[in-house]
């Protein structure tokens, strides 16, 4: 289930509605995706509970939603002298999460399942995540510990305990590419046999060979996974596997299969 969910998400995030007609074409006849793209949006990832059953905003509702959901970091109530105040001290100048809902006026980025909500994690995975959270909590029984802006608990015993963002390893928006707090920009360069996507956030690079070669052997794991692309009509379909077990998308593990 989650496999299909994320696949649809990637398309929703990437193909603007106008792209179905009159698109620029590469010499090989495929749509030319080259250029600098953004997916910043205030559309919520999951459909809020109070919008249950409502797949699309009306124009008026969209305008209202945009007005009431402007991200205003300056209003956050950080307490002076705390870890959080330092770690979250960016004011709104540094943030760029977008001010508009998606052009389709969908009420969630998740479009399948139709309720716009992520299906629950398996019981086994929930238990695993609880254990990891418990381990973090225990580490945080040491003096001076409090939650930071990333939700990770500090202080750490060593660098590997720090959040992936702080280590410049990943902001969790490379695979799949989802809107986050800032740097929601992507440069695509396309050739007949390859598509490269340079992600502005910590310059993660999606390398997408358009070839028939198999994925890497399963014991080889990569931070942005191992991608292969092919064209289905005018849609570039990218199949990505071989993720590592340190990166997690909404609770996923290393078996994440992203299409």
């Amino acid at each position: 289930m989650s496999l299909r969910l994320i696949g649809v998400l990637a398309v929703a995030a990437w193909i603007p509605t106008s792209a179905q007609n009159g698109v620029p074409r590469a010499a090989d006849g495929h749509p030319d995706l080259s250029g600098v793209w953004t997916n910043k949006t205030v559309t919520p990832f999951e459909r809020p509970r109070d919008l249950a059953g409502k797949e699309f905003f009306t124009e008026q509702e969209a305008a209202e939603y945009e007005k009431t959901h402007v991200f205003d970091v300056d209003k956050r109530d950080n307490i002076r002298g705390t870890n959080r105040d330092v770690a979250s001290a960016y004011n709104s100048f540094w943030w760029d999460p977008g001010t508009k809902v998606a052009k389709t006026r969908r009420t969630s980025i998740v479009i399948d399942p139709p309720d716009g909500r992520i299906p629950p994690l398996t019981a086994e995975r929930q238990k695993q995540l609880q254990e990891m959270a418990e381990a973090r909590r225990r580490r945080c029984e040491k003096p001076g510990c409090e939650p930071e802006n990333s939700g990770q608990l500090g202080p750490a015993d060593g660098p590997e305990d720090r959040p992936l963002m702080e280590r410049c390893l990943s902001f969790g928006n490379a695979a799949p590419m989802v809107s986050s707090a800032y740097n929601n920009n992507y440069e695509i360069v396309q050739t007949p046999g390859f598509v490269g996507i340079d992600i502005e956030m910590v310059h993660q690079m999606r390398r997408i060979p358009i070839d028939q070669t198999p994925h890497l052997p399963s014991h080889v794991r990569e931070w942005v996974g191992d991608s292969r692309g092919h064209w289905e009509g005018d849609t570039l379909v990218v199949d990505t596997t071989n993720f590592n077990n340190l990166e997690s998308f909404r609770g996923s593990d290393e078996n994440l299969h992203l299409i």
Binding site: D157, E187, V189, V195, D198, H203, R207, T213
Partner: protein, 289 residues
């Protein structure tokens, strides 16, 4: 084929000949001019037959790698022991011939002294140890492959090492918004040579593991010229009036990975460098750091 074209072919063919071979080079060039029908066979393969992109430019797409020891030292160097004796032959420094035109890097006196200090501290201070972005031209001859993704207006060059990547904007008139590790790359074609002008570097990168270095005034002009479908001649002109007494050049061939399954894999080295960078902050067992 006109004389001018023949001379051009000949120059291309001989670009990386050793100065010691000069008499041979003169002789071969004379011979080429005398026997025009042999030229295409003798010299570097004529670029007319090389693959091209839809817009008629040479197609440089693919995975490339230098095959030399330039990352150990741009100048000619003998082998020396490595920093970790338990690694034996694996950890030692291999010998190699230099890639600097004329043999030596023309440092200003103060900079020459600084390079010597860098060399003494190379096993701790080299930014490559820290998984920092490699800068240029070092990214090209690190002992790892890189991939050229050639669009018409933009060329991405993505390096295996540290996930380094740079955007080459073709004919872009704009100025760099800020200094950076990988600089600001603006490209253009001179015939079948891709020329990339790179400016706006910071002063944090080195040229090699021997402590050769530059300042933030570094200006690099790279030239990628095919000498066949699978070999590029790479040349980088290096200018930095704060560090060098004159501009200088390096040159080397780059080889295409022709393996059927050639893909650029991820070499994310941050986790391997964290202990070097932050290990001193690690909480000791029962300690309070």
């Amino acid at each position: 084929m006109g004389i001018a074209q023949k001379e051009k072919d000949c120059e291309k063919c001989m670009r990386y000949s050793n100065p010691l071979e000069e008499p041979m080079r003169v002789w071969i060039c004379a011979w080429i001019l005398a026997l025009p029908w042999i030229t295409p066979q003798l010299c570097a393969q004529s670029t007319a037959s090389l693959p091209r992109t839809a817009d008629g430019k040479l197609d440089l797409n693919g995975i490339w790698q230098a095959m030399n020891t330039a990352d150990w030292d741009l100048e000619t160097h003998g082998s020396v022991p490595g920093p970790v004796s338990s690694l034996g032959a694996i950890g030692a420094v291999p010998p190699g011939e230099g890639v600097v035109e004329g043999g030596t890097i023309p440092y200003l006196p103060a900079a020459a002294a600084r390079q010597k200090e860098n060399y003494q501290r190379r096993w701790t201070d080299d930014p490559e140890i820290k998984c920092f972005m490699p800068g240029l031209p070092r990214a090209t001859y690190l002992p790892y492959p890189f991939q050229i993704v050639q669009g018409a207006n933009t060329i991405l060059i993505t390096y295996a090492y540290a996930g380094a990547v740079r955007t080459v904007r073709m004919g872009h008139p704009g100025k760099s918004p800020t200094d950076s590790w990988m600089g600001w790359s603006v490209g253009h074609w001179e015939g079948d040579t891709l020329v990339i002008d790179v400016t706006s570097f910071n002063d944090q990168t080195w040229f090699d593991r021997a402590g050769n270095f530059h300042s933030d005034a570094l200006h690099v002009v790279e030239r990628y010229t095919p000498r066949g479908p699978d070999i590029l001649d790479y040349e980088a002109s290096i200018e930095d009036p704060k560090v060098f007494s004159r501009p200088w050049k390096i040159g080397m061939p780059l080889y295409r990975h022709v393996e059927k399954n050639a893909h650029l894999m991820e070499y994310q080295c941050i986790p391997y460098a964290e202990d070097v960078l932050y290990g001193h902050l690690r909480r000791a067992e029962g300690g309070s750091k």
